[in-house]
C-alpha cells in the first residue's frame, strides 16, 4: 500500500474514531436506553455545524486562524501511526516510538494556542492562556507515567511494549502509573471533570470562542480523535495492546479501547467540575510528585522481582 | 551521486550563526535578543551533530554533548525570560535602549 493510501486510511480511521468517541460521550451522558439518540446526535451536530456560517473575526491573524485545525489534525494523524493494531499491523515502528508519540503531540498544543491567539478576542485570549497552561502542565505527568512501561519493557518501541505484556498486563502492577496517565489523558482533551476551558458556561466558549462552522467541526473532530488516540495508547501501555485469547488482535484492541474510553468518560461524570487553579495545583503539586514516586516504585519492583515482567 | 558531505551542513550552520549575530546586535526588544541567542546555540549544535556523523560516527560522546547543550539552552531561555519579566515589572519596558543604566 503506498504512502498516500496509508495516509488516507489513517485520516478516515481517525474520523470514524472521533465519531465513535462522540457517540460514547453521549451514551455515558444519556444512559443506555437512549442508544439511538446517542448515535444520531453527533451526526446532527455535524450537520448543524456545517450549515453554520463561516465567520472570521475582524483583525484575526488569518494564516494562523485557518491553519490551526489542520495542524492539530496532522499532528494527531502522525501520532496515530505509531500505535500497533495487531501483531503484524504496525504503521510505523521506530525504535524511539513512544518518545516520537509524545513529541509529535507538541504541535497539537501549538495549534490550540494559535487558534486562541489568532481570534483577536479578549475572551478567546484568556481561554487560550488557561488552555496552554493546562496542556503544558499535564504533558509532564503524562511523560513520567509513560516511563513505567518503558522501564518494564526496556524499549521505547510500542510494538515491543505490547509484546512484553504477554505474561501480565502492566496495569496490574503499575496502577499508580495508569491512574496518572488516565487523569492526564482526560485533562488534555478537556473531558469531565476537566472541561472548564471549553465549558458552555465559560467565557463565551473559551479557547474556541470565535470558531464557527466547518473549522469548529474540525476542532471537535481533532479533540475527539486525540482522546481516542490517548486511550488507545493507554491500552497499548497498560492493558496489553492487541493481545487476547481467541479473537484476532485488532478486534481485541478495539474492544479494549472502547471499554477503557467508556470507563474514563463515565467515571469522569461523577466528579464535580474542577476549577482552573485547582487543575494546575493538581498537576504540579499532586500528579508530578506522584509520577516521580511511580517511577521509583516501578524501578524497585523491576529490581526485586525480575521474573515479574513478560 | 553521494549525499551532502560535511561541508554543506557547516555552511548552513554558518549562515544561521550570521543571522543570529544580526539579531542579537540589532533587535530592540530583549526577548528578540534572547531568541537570536537561541539561533546561535542551535547553529553550534548542528555543527556538533554534523561532525559526529562524518568524523566519528562510532563514538556517541558527541550526542551526549549535544543533549547537554540543548538542556543548557532551555535553562538559559527560562532564566532569561524570568529576568525579562522582572525587568518589565520594574522598568515598564523591555526596550534594550532604555535598559542602559543600572540605576532605576
Amino acid at each position: 500500500m503506498n504512502t498516500f493510501g496509508v495516509a488516507l486510511l489513517v485520516v478516515w480511521s481517525l474520523l470514524i474514531c472521533a465519531y465513535g468517541i462522540a457517540v460514547l460521550e453521549r451514551l455515558t451522558a444519556l444512559g443506555l436506553r437512549h442508544f439511538r439518540a446517542a448515535v444520531l446526535l453527533p451526526l446532527a451536530e455535524t450537520v448543524a455545524l456545517l450549515r453554520q456560517e463561516n465567520l472570521v473575526p475582524r483583525g484575526a491573524d488569518r494564516l494562523l486562524f485557518h491553519s490551526a485545525p489542520l495542524v492539530a489534525l496532522t499532528s494527531i494523524a502522525l501520532a496515530a501511526l505509531v500505535i500497533p493494531l495487531g501483531p503484524a499491523l504496525r504503521g510505523f515502528d521506530p525504535s524511539i516510538g513512544l518518545f516520537y508519540f509524545i513529541v509529535v503531540l507538541g504541535p497539537f498544543v501549538i495549534a490550540m494556542m494559535n487558534a486562541g491567539w489568532s481570534q483577536n478576542s479578549p475572551e478567546g485570549l484568556s481561554g487560550t492562556f488557561r488552555a496552554a497552561a493546562c496542556l503544558i502542565s499535564y504533558e509532564v505527568p503524562l511523560g513520567f507515567a509513560v516511563i513505567g512501561p518503558v522501564m518494564a519493557a526496556e524499549s521505547l518501541s510500542t510494538a515491543r511494549i505490547v509484546e512484553a505484556q504477554t505474561g501480565l498486563w502492566y496495569v496490574v502492577w503499575q496502577p499508580l502509573g495508569f491512574l496518572i496517565y488516565a487523569i492526564a489523558a482526560l485533562f488534555m482533551t478537556y473531558r469531565r471533570p476537566f472541561d472548564l476551558p471549553q465549558a458552555g458556561s465559560e467565557l463565551a466558549g473559551g479557547v474556541l470562542a470565535e470558531y464557527t462552522g466547518a473549522r469548529l467541526l474540525l476542532f471537535h473532530i481533532a479533540l475527539n480523535a486525540l482522546f481516542f488516540l490517548l486511550t488507545a495508547m493507554g491500552v497499548v501501555l497498560f492493558f496489553g495492546g492487541w493481545q487476547g485469547p481467541g479473537l484476532p488482535g485488532p478486534i481485541w484492541f478495539l474492544v479494549k479501547t472502547v471499554a477503557l474510553a467508556t470507563v474514563l468518560l463515565w467515571g469522569g461524570r461523577f466528579l464535580p467540575r474542577v476549577r482552573h487553579d485547582q487543575m494546575l495545583s493538581l498537576a504540579w503539586k499532586i500528579l508530578l510528585p506522584a509520577s516521580l514516586v511511580n517511577v521509583a516504585l516501578v524501578g524497585i519492583l523491576i529490581l526485586v522481582f525480575p521474573g515479574e515482567k513478560s | 551521486m553521494n549525499g551532502p558531505g560535511l561541508v554543506p551542513y557547516l555552511i548552513t550552520s554558518a549562515l544561521l550563526f550570521g543571522i543570529g549575530v544580526v539579531g542579537v546586535l540589532s533587535q530592540r526588544n530583549a526577548v528578540m535578543v534572547l531568541m537570536s541567542v537561541e539561533i546561535i546555540l542551535n547553529a553550534a549544535i548542528l555543527n556538533l551533530i554534523a561532525f559526529w556523523r562524518f568524523v566519528r560516527p562510532d563514538n556517541f560522546d558527541a550526542q551526549v554533548f549535544a543533549i547537554v547543550a540543548v538542556t543548557i539552552g532551555a535553562v538559559e531561555m527560562a532564566a532569561g525570560l524570568g529576568l525579562m519579566l522582572l525587568v518589565f515589572r520594574q522598568r515598564g519596558s523591555t526596550n534594550v535602549d532604555q535598559l542602559q543604566e543600572l540605576k532605576l
Binding site: - | 555552511i11 539561533i39 549535544a66
Partner: protein, 263 residues
C-alpha cells in the same frame, strides 16, 4: 537513501531553517516571530534525522517546541503590540517601503527640527531594530562569510563509517557511566534554573511606591496616548504624534508608559 533525494531534502530543510530564522527578524508580529523560530528549529530537527541522529531530532523538537511555546506566551504578555497590527496599520497608512519590519528601522542622525521632528520621534518610538542595524548586518554577514571560507578550506578528517548502533541505548549507557557527572550537573543546573526563574517571577508582597499621578485625580478626564504619555488632552481624539486613538489616563498607563500595561 539515494544521494539525490538526500541532497534535495538537505536543501529544502536548510532553506527552511535559514529562511525561517531570517523571517523571524523581518516579521512585525511577535507571535509569528516565535512561530518562525519554532519552525526553524523543527527544520533543524529534520536535518538531524538526515544525519542519522534520530534521538537528538526528537529531543530537539520536544525541547524547542515546548520551550518556544512558553516564550511566545511571555512575549504576548510583555509586549505592546504582539500581533503586529499597530505596526501594519502605520506602515499601510504612511506607505512605508520595504518588507515587514525592515520598513521601520530606526532613523539615523540628529532629530530634525520643526514639522519633521514629530515624524522622526514617532519612527524612533516605533522602530523594531536599534540604530545599529547596518553595523549588525555587516558584522553578521562578515562572520558568516569568514566561517564559510574557513569551513570550505579546511581539510576535514573524513570517516566513511556508517552509524549502525541504536543511539538511545548507547547514549543512555554513556550518560549513566562515563558522563554521570555531566548528567547530574545538568540536573542541578535545571533545578537552579527553575528555582531562579520562580524567584524572579514572584510578585513582591509590599506594594512598590508609585510616582504620584499627575492629573487624573479629580473631575476632569484626561486623555493620553498609550505610547506618548506626554500628550494630554481634556477630550478624546487622535494623538498628534502617531495618530492613535487617545485613551483615558489611568494610574497604570501613566506608570507603565511604553510597556503597554502589566501582564
Amino acid at each position: 537513501m539515494s544521494g539525490l533525494i538526500e541532497w534535495i531534502l538537505f536543501l529544502a530543510l536548510s532553506v527552511l531553517a535559514v529562511g525561517m530564522a531570517a523571517s523571524m527578524l523581518v516579521t512585525m508580529s511577535m507571535y509569528r516571530a516565535g512561530l518562525a523560530l519554532m519552525s526553524s528549529f523543527v527544520a533543524l530537527a529534520g536535518l538531524f534525522i538526515l544525519l542519522n541522529a534520530d534521538l537528538l531530532a526528537a529531543i530537539q523538537v520536544m525541547m524547542n517546541v515546548g520551550g518556544m511555546l512558553v516564550m511566545v506566551l511571555f512575549m504576548v504578555m510583555l509586549m505592546m503590540d504582539p500581533g503586529g497590527e499597530m505596526m501594519w496599520d502605520m506602515k499601510r497608512k504612511m506607505h512605508m517601503p520595504g518588507p515587514g519590519a525592515l520598513s521601520m528601522t530606526m532613523p539615523r542622525g540628529a532629530p530634525p527640527s520643526g514639522k519633521e521632528r514629530q515624524h522622526h520621534q514617532m519612527m524612533v518610538d516605533m522602530a523594531m531594530s536599534t540604530a545599529q542595524l547596518p553595523w549588525a548586518l555587516a558584522l553578521g554577514a562578515a562572520s558568516a562569510l569568514v566561517l564559510i571560507v574557513l569551513v570550505v578550506r579546511t581539510p576535514w578528517p573524513f570517516s566513511s563509517v556508517q552509524p549502525t548502533q541504536d543511539a538511545t541505548g548507547a547514549v543512555g549507557t554513556l550518560l549513566l557511566s562515563r558522563y554521570m557527572l555531566g548528567f547530574e550537573g545538568a540536573a542541578f543546573l535545571i533545578l537552579a534554573g527553575i528555582a531562579g526563574a520562580v524567584i524572579f517571577a514572584r510578585r513582591e508582597r509590599a506594594p512598590t511606591s508609585r510616582p504620584a499621578a499627575a492629573t487624573a485625580a479629580s473631575g476632569t478626564k484626561i486623555f493620553t496616548c498609550p505610547m506618548h504619555e506626554e500628550v494630554r488632552q481634556s477630550g478624546p481624539g487622535q494623538c498628534p504624534l502617531c495618530g492613535m486613538d487617545l485613551t483615558p489616563a489611568t494610574e497604570a498607563s501613566v506608570h507603565h508608559g511604553e510597556g503597554g500595561g502589566s501582564a
